[in-house]
């Protein structure tokens, strides 16, 4: 039965637009409401939209080994060095699923007031156990939301934060943007990716640089280097596969035993720090200008 309340809900948008500014009934966004769109809408009114819950599994690793705080990992980088990672967190947003026939649909994230906010999420593999003292005991290895039922064979997301969220007021930001360890206040933003190590022999702090303020002199309006990577993974079935974030792959082309003089250990996204170059490449970024280079991305893979 077509519920009266559903009709009322449609009619309340007197302007013809929904709260997202989308023309009500115009499912494909082409500015017209076709008969087929009306049929779909009526079906949705009768049967519900039929979105299904989907959970993406993530795992932090160093090479083949699952990351845990305090473990010594061997054979990292070009000099086969040992590292003891002490932080392993990153933000992603704009998560999309790809169907087997190439259709791209957004994963509408559940708003859990913890790890997910709008269309962004924090993945957190550290549990504050030594030497991860700067972290949080809680961890998060999943991203969960709703999507149309379908046969999905790929996943896409951005490593980073949406621009407005990245440059909002940190002092009032909701979770997961309230984590002081992820603040990158000197750049008026956040660290998108935070890798630290015990003994501080290598760090990877990814974030936007070269940002400038606009006419409202307290708000960042653009950044010379966004340093937001576009990740595109194929052969991924959310029901059976896991997205691996592999620190070993990230550092595979770096010499961890040698650091450019007078720069922080590893890379803090400084355009003058050549230690960043191989890491950026493996994150799927051009180090020269911070634009995406998805083809070189090796940090993430599917298992």
């Amino acid at each position: 039965m077509l519920a009266a309340s559903s009709i009322a809900a449609g009619a309340h948008a007197q302007s013809g637009f929904d709260s997202n500014g989308q023309c009500v009934g115009d499912a494909d966004g082409n500015g017209e409401v076709t008969i087929s769109e009306i049929i779909v809408a009526v079906n949705n009114a009768l049967n519900g939209c039929g979105f299904v819950p989907i959970t993406l599994q993530f795992r932090g690793t160093v090479g083949a080994d699952t990351f845990t705080c305090g473990t010594v990992y061997h054979n990292v980088g070009t000099t086969k060095a040992d590292i003891v990672p002490s932080d392993f967190r990153f933000y992603i947003y704009n998560v999309r699923l790809v169907t087997k026939d190439g259709q791209v649909v957004p994963l509408k994230l559940d708003q859990d007031h913890a790890w997910q906010l709008d269309d962004l999420a924090l993945l957190d593999f550290e549990n504050k156990a030594p030497p991860c003292g700067n972290g949080t005991t809680a961890t998060n290895t999943t991203v969960h939301g709703m999507a149309p039922p379908g046969e999905y064979t790929g996943v896409r997301f951005q490593l980073g934060l949406p621009f407005d969220r990245n440059h909002g007021n940190q002092a009032i930001a909701p979770s997961p943007l309230d984590l002081t360890g992820m603040f990158w206040s000197w750049q008026d933003g956040y660290r998108f990716l935070k890798i630290d190590t015990a003994f501080d022999n290598v760090r990877v702090h990814l974030g936007s640089t070269g940002c400038v303020l606009g006419s409202n002199p307290t708000v960042v309006t653009s950044c010379a280097r966004l340093n937001i990577a576009e990740v595109d993974l194929n052969g991924f079935n959310p029901a059976s596969n896991t997205i691996i974030a592999d620190l070993g792959a990230l550092l595979a082309n770096s010499d961890i035993n040698t650091n450019q003089p007078n720069t922080p250990p590893g890379c803090e996204s400084d355009p003058g720090d050549q230690d960043c170059d191989p890491m950026f490449t493996n994150l799927g970024l051009h180090f020269s200008d911070g634009t995406p280079s998805p083809a070189t991305q090796t940090f993430f893979r599917v298992e």
Binding site: G133, N134, G135, T136, N169, Q170, A171, I172, D178, L179, T180, G181, F183, S185, W186, Q187, D188, H205, T209, G210, C211, V212, L213, P217, T218, V220, A224, Q260, P261, N262, T263, P264, E268, D270, P271, G272
Partner: protein
């Protein structure tokens, strides 16, 4: 009661009478009064953080509280000491965990008028944003709060009754006033009050005292404001800066300059961890560009330059500016700063006679504001010798101050209007504290009161 002297007993009767007066007066919120030096404009304040007595009083406690560092060893004052015009005397700052900062702690003199914050950061245009950097930054670690859950930091404050009251009264419309945002806003409200404009130079220039400065300082001032030396281009105006903002100003003036301190490769390079705003912009001409700090209280803020690499004022004047840029003859940073291609055109060099050098130094020292560095309003509330009930720190307790104390006791006035009435720091004014205040009113403030209880003790 038998141990009370007759005088104290009479005072108690007075307190009872005051209670009646106090109830009549109530506690209307007053607009914040800046009490600015002559010739100073009103500071610019963010719309969402208007000044209030309550926020300033709370911010002063926060500024001096070691709750503000991860390991509870450092407060903001660790690197910003009042007696050094809120700098620290070190070449390079040392953070709460021992990490050495690439740069020297900046004086907080007149920061309310800064157009930008830190030595060279084009993104930090408000103190509210700046405050997050020493708190949470980790390259290097300063206060070392980065990684601490906000709740853990805030619990340090909410577990203390004085802070509970100060926060509640500073943010009366907030159901839960102890938040990071409110903490930062109170802290910055206090820091905005650190205004210095009562040096001998000020007293002379404002016609208050023709003998406030020596003839030598007078001559040095004449030299300072010449095209021969060019000092005043970057160190001009009421605050001796060229980058400033204030209330009603159309737009902040933001400037950064390369002053020829380094020229490592002959192409203008600065040490890699101190490249100025180049670190943000990557524009070659921005290499080595830093903010010109105020020269007020410069005598107290040695060593000099962004990296503290010049020990004395004389060194800055003669070896650096006199030469038109510093020459470093050996070591990793060897180079002739005077030929730095990005150097400001005003750094042209000059030759001073011995007398002229002495005159200039005398002028610069005439900018030292001893009232600023001894003002109890800016001092450490945990360590000072305060007189119970002496709300305005003038070493005497008046009837008005007693009324304020009573009103605070009745919760008819905010604690922030007279924090020293709460001698034991429990957030309440008890009868014995009122007695202390009455005794101070009758006998004067000669003997210091007990030090307010430090954190967690």
């Amino acid at each position: 009661m038998s141990s009370l002297s007759g005088r104290t007993a009479r005072a108690l009767l007075g307190v009872t009478a005051l209670l009646v007066c106090a109830a009549a007066r109530g506690a209307a919120a007053e607009a914040y009064k800046w009490n600015l030096p002559v010739g100073f404009p009103q500071p610019s304040v963010p719309d969402d953080n208007p000044m209030s007595i309550e926020k300033v009083a709370l911010g002063r406690f926060i500024f001096y509280d070691t709750r503000m560092s991860g390991n509870q060893t450092y407060s903001c004052a660790a690197c910003h000491k009042q007696e050094l015009a809120f700098s620290d005397g070190l070449q390079q700052a040392i953070g709460s965990t021992g990490q050495v900062h690439p740069r020297s702690s900046m004086s907080l003199t007149n920061v309310a008028y800064n157009a930008t914050f830190a030595w060279a950061n084009p993104l930090l245009l408000t103190l509210e944003k700046q405050a997050l950097l020493p708190m949470f930054g980790d390259t290097p670690v300063e206060l070392g709060l980065g990684g601490m859950p906000q709740s853990e930091l805030l619990d340090r404050f909410s577990s203390n009754p004085r802070y509970r009251r100060l926060f509640a009264e500073a943010y009366p419309n907030d159901a839960d006033p102890i938040t990071l945002d409110n903490l930062v806003k109170a802290l910055t409200s206090f820091v905005r009050t650190l205004i210095s404009g009562n040096s001998p130079y000020d007293r002379y220039i404002n016609g208050l005292d023709d003998n406030a400065i020596s003839k030598s300082a007078y001559n040095g001032g004449r030299l300072f404001f010449t095209e021969r030396l060019e000092c005043f281009h970057c160190h001009g105006g009421y605050n001796f800066v060229d980058s400033e903002t204030h209330d009603g100003k159309l737009t902040p003036e933001i400037q950064f300059h390369n002053n020829g301190l380094y020229n490592i490769d002959g192409h203008g390079a600065y040490p890699p961890n101190n490249t100025g705003i180049f670190a943000f912009t990557q524009v070659p001409a921005d290499m080595g560009s830093f903010k010109s700090p105020t020269l007020r209280n410069i005598e107290l803020t040695a060593p000099y330059m962004h990296d503290g690499s010049i020990a004395t004022l004389e060194g800055a004047l003669v070896d650096h500016y006199g030469r038109g840029g510093r020459l470093i003859t050996d070591g990793p940073y060897a180079g002739d700063g005077s030929t730095n291609p990005f150097k400001s055109g005003f750094i042209r060099g000059f030759t001073l006679t011995d007398q002229e050098k002495q005159d200039l130094l005398a002028f610069l020292k005439s900018l030292t504001d001893m009232e600023f560095v001894t003002n109890p309003r800016f001092s450490d509330p945990f360590a000072g010798e305060f007189c119970t009930g002496d709300c305005n720190f003038d070493r005497s307790v008046t009837v008005d101050e007693l009324i304020t104390g009573v009103n605070i006791g009745l919760e008819a006035a905010p604690l922030g209007t007279c924090v020293v009435a709460d001698a034991d720091g429990d957030g309440e004014i008890a009868v014995n504290e009122l007695i202390g205040a009455v005794n101070a009113a009758l006998s004067g403030c000669a003997s210091p009161t007990p030090t307010p209880t430090p954190l967690g003790q």
